[in-house]
């Protein structure tokens, strides 16, 4: 940002008459200082905020992760990597990792294909299209906490809406304990997540679909391509950049999942729906084992970082090279 700002300014006064060499050099030097000052003074507030509110706490959490520390005073009881070794011995945390993986796989296998199907469907011309788009997007606008409270009621055993509906159509047997059943809590939770987030991905895909030139599909049509072939060989490749971004967002979202779980189950029953963020909260703010909780947050950060870097390096690279809007997209 800084460099383009300076570059623009330097090339700005090009129409002026060139002053003598010495004056020009001096003037350029002063101007450069001035430019720097301007740039710094504009960036300073944001920089201070970013360092103070983001960078320092992050570094501090990294530091605290090597201490047994209750959050009072400064950390002093250095324990080396004990927090981390304990962590990878903790069945709850190992379970968190497993559940995280399950959520990622479920999202990729069900949520995103469903969102894509809906997007393709809603990209057709038909009456009331805007209404459907809005309806499907609406859950995403709702806050996580409200969604959580809502579905706690819907899936309340016996008295909830879900069981009433099953009962009304004679499928009483399908009604169950939902969130209260250790074996089904993740599945129920995933249903809610899917309901809440598919609209967002659908919107992404819709935007992507609309940027695909109509001529291409028409050309394929003239060449005699079937609907599936048009989708598979024209739409999908051109939508790939959007898909890749949406997969990225979905995975990161699954790793950090907290609010919904906290409101609906608090990680229960018996840790069967706990996520890393919930475990971190339990240790940090309920047990005041802040060092241990910091270790969890560091591991979470590490997982996110490694995933993000690897994904950018191996998957997003061609998108980042600027191929997004050209047709070279997948043909390279």
């Amino acid at each position: 940002m800084t460099s383009t700002f300076l570059a623009d300014k330097r090339s700005g006064p090009g129409t002026d008459l060139p002053p003598p060499e010495s004056v020009r050099a001096r003037g350029r030097g002063r101007r450069r200082v001035l430019h720097w000052l301007t740039a710094v003074s504009f960036q300073l507030p944001a920089l201070v905020l970013f360092i103070g509110m983001v960078l320092l706490p992050m570094l501090f959490a990294l530091y605290a992760a090597f201490f047994r520390w209750g959050g009072f005073g400064m950390p002093s009881d250095y324990v080396g990597t004990d927090n981390f070794t304990d962590l990878f011995d903790n069945p709850v945390f190992l379970g968190d990792l497993w559940r995280c993986l399950v959520l990622v796989v479920l999202s990729l296998a069900f949520q995103l294909p469903f969102a894509l199907a809906m997007a393709v469907l809603l990209n057709q011309k038909f009456r009331g299209r805007a209404v459907y788009r809005m309806l499907f997007f609406a859950p995403y606008v709702l806050s996580e906490a409200i969604t959580g409270v809502l579905f706690s009621m819907v899936f309340a055993p016996d008295s909830g809406l879900a069981d009433h509906i099953f009962g009304a159509v004679g499928l009483d047997g399908l009604g169950g304990l939902w969130f209260a059943d250790p074996s089904y809590v993740m599945a129920t939770l995933f249903l809610v997540m899917m309901w809440k987030y598919f609209g967002f991905h659908m919107m992404l895909y819709l935007a992507g679909l609309q940027s695909i030139p109509r001529e291409l599909t028409e050309a394929a049509l003239i060449d005699g391509a079937s609907a599936w072939q048009r989708f598979r060989n024209v739409t999908l490749p051109l939508l790939a950049p959007t898909l890749r971004i949406s997969v990225f967002l979905s995975v990161i979202g699954s790793i950090q999942l907290f609010d919904l779980v906290w409101v609906v189950t608090q990680g229960g029953p018996d840790h069967h729906s706990e996520t890393m963020a919930v475990t971190m909260f339990q240790y940090g703010f309920k047990r005041y084992q802040v060092g241990y909780a910091s270790a969890i947050s560091v591991v979470m950060f590490g997982i996110c970082l490694v995933f993000a870097l690897a994904y950018q390096r191996f998957v997003l690279r061609r998108d980042l090279e600027g191929a997004t809007t050209t047709m070279r997209g997948d043909g390279k």
Binding site: L59, F60, A64, S152, P157, L177, Q266, H271, F285, Q289
Partner: protein
């Protein structure tokens, strides 16, 4: 009113999920000193009475005190329960507490005392504090020194539906664990859900284990286990086994593992709507039952946690806690005056009448009207022993591990032995 204990358990903690490192960095937010420029002293009073009617009653009391003491100004700071706890954590870290602050006593108060932040009130309050009920003062006495003055008191016991008990042919509330299990079976055989339990929130389940441990291992063992960091004694394992006996009868409502406490589908509502016959809960139970459900009115009864045959504990030993106030070290004399005023008969009478607390002053009992609360008060007065809520009495990590392990026992994934081991392990790690 029982709202200190009630809202203390409020579940809206999610909003506190900021960055972890922030806890430490926000610790710097102090507050101004109660300086005196024109001879008046300003005393800061931090409390958690954010709900009506207590909120306005307390504010009126502060006004009354100011009127009687023109040289003293009371500055009230009211924080919601969970917000108060996290703010106090930050303040403790920064080394400066408010002049007068709410406390539950026990382990958290001890942490603050150990940090040298709390005023020793032993001598300064002796003349008038002697008149308070002994059992109510216990949470605030650490190493024989008084660090806090109570304003209300409470205990956990069974709140039951007399009508449903009658239907099941249980004429008298059980006094022994064997009798209790029998009553549960009788209720079940009549297709009545015997017990409502908020499994999602974990702390209501902990009450069972804590009481059973008090009855089997004895009240001193709970204190000793915490000091020795060893909960593997036979009494604790036995407590787990007794709880397992109960769990094996499947006495809880359908879907209790995800039930909350005070929501419309939660534990209190199940009892308040007559869908479950009883719950193990504190003195605030009647008001929450009426608030989240319909309430039972005259059908509601109270009985103490039964004794266990062959156990070391007695049925007269109570488990519970109340609210109190402590002073920061070096707080002005005006703050002590206020504590005296707040523990006076006039104040207690008003609190009993308007906010239906259980009074800490024997003379204030005459203002009590609710027969069930009178029953609880009688239990408290006759108490031969007292154990504070485990999550307040023990270090936070140990208290949470008790909640967590007992929840696992109730869900069927931990054995009584494993519960004892898990708690011991956490206690040992907590230096």
């Amino acid at each position: 009113m029982g709202d200190p204990a009630l809202s203390r358990r409020g579940f809206l903690a999610a909003s506190a999920a900021a960055g972890l490192g922030m806890t430490a960095l926000t610790g710097c937010g102090g507050d101004s000193d109660g300086g005196s420029s024109d001879g008046t002293t300003t005393v800061e009073w931090w409390n958690i009475s954010t709900t009506e009617p207590a909120k306005s009653v307390w504010a009126a009391l502060a006004k009354k005190f100011e009127a009687a003491n023109p040289k003293i100004k009371i500055k009230i700071v009211q924080l919601e329960n969970d917000a108060y706890k996290s703010k106090m954590t930050a303040l403790t870290a920064s080394g400066k507490l408010p002049d007068i602050f709410h406390t539950w006593g026990g382990g958290v108060l001890k942490q603050q005392v150990d940090a040298g932040l709390v005023e020793d009130l032993t001598d300064r309050t002796k003349p008038w504090a002697d008149g308070l009920l002994k059992v109510t003062k216990e949470p605030y006495i650490l190493d024989d020194k008084v660090y806090g003055i109570p304003f209300d008191m409470g205990m956990i016991g069974f709140w039951y539906n007399k009508k449903l008990f009658q239907q099941a042919g249980v004429s008298e509330p059980p006094t022994t664990w064997g009798g209790f299990l029998e009553a549960v079976s009788k209720l079940k055989s009549k297709n009545i859900t015997p017990i409502a339990l908020a499994g999602k929130e974990k702390w209501p389940g902990m009450y069972y284990w804590a009481y059973l441990a008090m009855r089997t291992a004895g009240i001193d063992a709970l204190q000793k286990a915490s000091e020795d960091k060893d909960f593997t004694g036979a009494g604790f394992v036995e407590a787990g086994r007794h709880l397992k006996e109960l769990v094996d009868l499947q006495p809880f409502q359908k879907g209790f593992l995800n039930a909350a406490y005070s929501t419309p589908t939660g534990q209190a509502a199940a009892v308040g709507n007559g869908k479950a016959a009883m719950e193990l809960m504190g003195q605030w139970a009647p008001s929450v039952e009426a608030d989240s459900g319909k309430g039972l009115g005259n059908d509601l009864g109270f009985f103490p946690f039964p004794s266990v045959e062959g156990g070391k504990g007695a049925i007269t030993e109570v488990f519970g806690g109340g609210g109190g106030h402590a002073l920061r070290r070096g707080a002005p004399q005006a703050a002590v005056e206020f504590l005296k005023f707040f523990a006076s008969e006039a104040t207690e009478l008003e609190l009993v009448k308007k906010t239906s607390i259980l009074p800490v002053l024997p003379d204030a009992e005459k203002a009590m009207t609710d027969p069930n609360l009178k029953l609880v008060q009688a239990q408290l007065k006759a108490a031969t022993g007292f154990q504070l809520y485990l999550d307040q009495a023990y270090a936070p990590a140990v208290g949470q591990e008790v909640n967590d392990s007992v929840a696992a026992l109730i869900a069927g994934s931990k054995s009584p032995e494993q519960v004892a081991q898990s708690i011991t392990q956490t206690a040992k790690e907590e230096q």
